[in-house]
Amino acid sequence: MTQSVVVQVGQCGNQVGCRFWDLALREHAHVNKRGLYDEALSSFFRNAVLIDMEEGVVNGILQGPLREVFDSTQLLTDVSGSGNNWAVGHLTYGSAYREAIVNKLRKAAEHCDCLQCFFLIHSMGGGTGSGLGTRVLSLLEEEFPDVCRIVTAMYPSAEDDVITSPYNSVLAMRELTEHADCVLPVENQSLVDIVNKISVMSHGAKPGSVLRKDSTVTSGQGSLSPTEKPFDAMNNIVANLLLNITSSARFEGSLNMDLNEIAMNLVPFPRLHYLVPSLTPLYTLADVNIPTRRLDQMFSDAFSKDHQLIRADPKRSLYLACALMVRGNVQVSDLRRNIERLRPSLPFVSWNQEGWKTGLCSVPPVGHSHSLLALANNTCVKPTFMELRDRFTKLYRKKAHLHHYLDVDGMEQSIFSESLSSLSELIDEYHQLDATKARLIPDAPRLSIAR
């Protein structure tokens, strides 16, 4: 049984991570009714490292119901925070705590029988998450080069409350492009939209339709913490994302999909590893008959704009690869039928016309009878990155707030310009692929064998 280590950095990372452990416990408790510490359960716990440069969030976790789950060797905190400054997180704290971080990571890795993957959760807009988080990423690459690194990065929306978030995001993006194996970008605005949609639904948009209790992707019902805090609903969505990705490694199914297969199949070229996640269904109605149409609806929804976790429409852009991880009582015929049905409307790149990676896991998530996670390597991330670049250049042109960064030891202006050019190159690569979309590429000539 393979294990993964979850490293949560910064306020956002820790809050999401906390929801994740909560939901994971709930899921395993649901599956394993007798409460025995089964193999699937043991594959996950003791494998967390919590890092934050201010104590509030981590202390909150330690006083909450999850205090039994973590112990102090897994935590790393400091007092004053990073001040929303990537350079402070990355360079100052990064160097100061380098040894401590490496030790904690090594300890967590040693607990693992067979370490398969590191999950890194952090936000891009803040200081600790983006700065120290990306520092941890490069440390992971140095210390554990063979282990896959999957980063769940929370991108700020346009109306973010942190003014320097464009700087922090672009500086962090460069690290992600160079050191991560896969990145799952998530945008706050999409999460907000999804949460609103669910609350509209649950407050009776249609009379007589009642949501099944604890079935929404945002609900933490049945989990340990009784009161829901403001960002909880949004964090639950991301936590569900992580649960679904790892489900095939934890539970059995007729077509298993391991974590190392995700990078193998979905990343055609090393830098193009941004995978847009989408999660369905978001809720289940209480009247529980599930005609096939409902199942097919789930597949259609996975490709619709409303269910993506970043604000993008993948159907209008080019797919480089797509993975479908299905949980629950879904058979290969349903999968085949839906792939055939949806395939014509999805533009795929010329050299991967039928490229689908599929996985079937028999155990559904709590409260649902089946669910689908789609990971798409799609050029629709290009507009998101372009907006990010625009917001960055708006500030950078005026050199606004730059002195806070340059005051930090080790930080130079060249780092800014290099990050900007790295982002521009990435956008260019996606752009070139996009340009092939409309053109009909002839098949490359095959080797001909003498007759």
Binding site: S254, D258, E261, A323, R336, E340, E354, K357, A444
Partner: protein
């Protein structure tokens, strides 16, 4: 003679478990004694230790005292209170790089009550191959070579006479394809004079794994040099059989595997061959290979069987050999794997037409060699002239050599009459060409 199966990866282990299930239930269904015992000897070994413990006082049991005949065993069990019921352990080695599937298969086997996998015949690691052929072939295979060879050696030592090996795997994934190719290479090295018949499962054309075409091409290129013959099942074709022939609404991988297991068992269960002189053949793999893989460059075999119907319908159907064989012949030349939707317009080209170089001229499927296996009632009166027609074969092998006929008077898997055709023909060319084309396109991009 005994066959050792090596199940590799998720697909290999799942299909293998279904295969042994079909074989053991077929051998048990009130069949004639010789057939059962030959089948059992071929695929299982009997043990008395670890067998089902009876509610009698086992301390009184003399060691190694067991009977292999059901009836006699029952009598003795009734009157003598100190016997253990023999248990059948499959002659199989299970290999996978992660443990979940092997555990699942072993549990399912044990639950059947009729047979099980031996406790120590499996090898697994903690982490899979990541759909990476190179990882399986170059890293994981060599790393675990000794352990796997040891398991195979132990299984071979339990065989009185070894008929050969059947590695079972898929070509799309990482373990089945990569580790499977490496294991086949090891089998070749260690047992150079044994037959190795690889059973391969090809993935859906519309993709189960994105890099499946790379993995498939690499596997097939290597196996072609290493193996004696490659018997292929395609997920697409089997899926069509399930949906159109068996009318299953919701098809699971289990259903696909059962169809594959049924066809494979139809090939491997005991039969009387021309060389076996009135007894069940003792060299099934050798005879299959010599009948079909007549040229070292032509090793791709495909199988189809008739009839294939939902088990509920079998009781209401009657079968006649002429109808079955007529359909089977048309299935062969029109290249379809099921009775539904056969194209009766396809005919062999007239003798005057020259050799065409397209993949399938006018939809007609030319064969190099065919092996027809008939099982059930009245086999000796079945008229197989249709398969000896020179027009369906190539010109450089006389039809008398090209067609081999095996028969077994024992009904197979609840069908009163059934026929299985293993053919070395052009049937797999189109899917193979598609696979190579897609792999090349992916490779040649940028």
């Amino acid at each position: 003679m005994s066959v050792v199966t090596v199940q590799l990866g998720q697909c290999g282990n799942q299909v293998g478990q279904e295969l042994f299930d079909v074989i053991s239930s077929d051998a048990q269904d009130g069949q004639r004694k010789t057939y059962s015992s030959v089948s059992r000897e071929r695929f299982f070994r009997q043990t008395s230790q670890g067998g089902k413990k009876m509610r009698y006082n086992k301390n009184k049991a003399p060691r190694g005292f067991y009977y292999d005949c059901c009836y006699v065993g029952k009598v003795l069990k009734y009157f003598f209170f100190f016997l253990r019921v023999p248990d059948f352990e499959a002659r199989a080695v299970l290999v996978d790089m992660e443990p979940k599937v092997i555990n699942h298969s072993m549990n399912r086997a044990a639950k059947s009550g009729r047979w099980r996998y031996a406790e120590a015949s499996h090898f697994s690691q903690k982490q899979g191959s990541g759909n990476n052929w190179a990882n399986g072939f170059r890293v994981l295979g060599p790393r675990h070579r000794d352990a796997v060879e040891e398991l195979v050696r132990r299984e071979v030592e339990h065989c009185d006479v070894l008929a050969g090996f059947i590695p079972m795997m898929s070509v799309a994934g990482g373990t089945g394809s990569g580790v499977g190719t490496f294991v086949t290479q090891c089998l070749r090295d260690v047992y150079p004079s044994s037959f190795v018949l690889n059973h391969l499962t090809w993935p859906y054309g519309t993709g189960e794994v994105i890099v499946q075409n790379y993995n498939s091409v690499l596997t097939l290129a290597h196996l072609y040099q290493l193996s004696d013959a490659l018997l292929v099942h395609e997920n697409d074709a089997v899926h069509r059989i399930c949906s159109q022939q068996l009318n299953l609404k919701q098809i699971s991988f289990g259903d696909l595997n059962r169809v594959i297991a049924h066809q494979l068992a139809g090939v491997l269960q005991p039969a009387l061959t021309p060389d076996s002189c009135g007894a069940y053949s003792g060299n099934p793999l050798g005879e299959l290979v010599s009948a079909l893989a007549c040229h070292p460059e032509y090793k791709l075999l495909s199988a189809c069987s008739i009839p294939q119907m939902a088990s509920a319908s079998i009781a209401f159907s009657t079968f006649s050999w002429p109808a079955l064989l007529k359909h089977l012949r048309q299935m062969l030349i029109a290249n379809t794997k099921m009775e539904e939707g056969i194209d009766w317009q396809v005919r062999p080209p007239p003798a005057s037409a020259g050799r065409t170089s397209s993949l399938t001229a006018g939809g007609f499927n030319a064969s190099l060699a065919n092996l027809l296996i008939l099982r059930g009632k009245d086999v000796y009166s079945a008229e197989t002239g249709g398969f000896e027609d020179p027009a369906i074969y190539t010109s450089w092998l006389p039809p008398a050599e090209a067609l081999s006929l095996w028969k077994s008077p024992v009904p197979f898997d609840k069908y009163e009459k059934s026929a299985t055709l293993v053919s070395n023909s052009q049937a797999l060319l189109r899917p193979l060409d598609d696979m190579v084309r897609k792999a090349w396109n992916m490779f040649a991009s940028r």
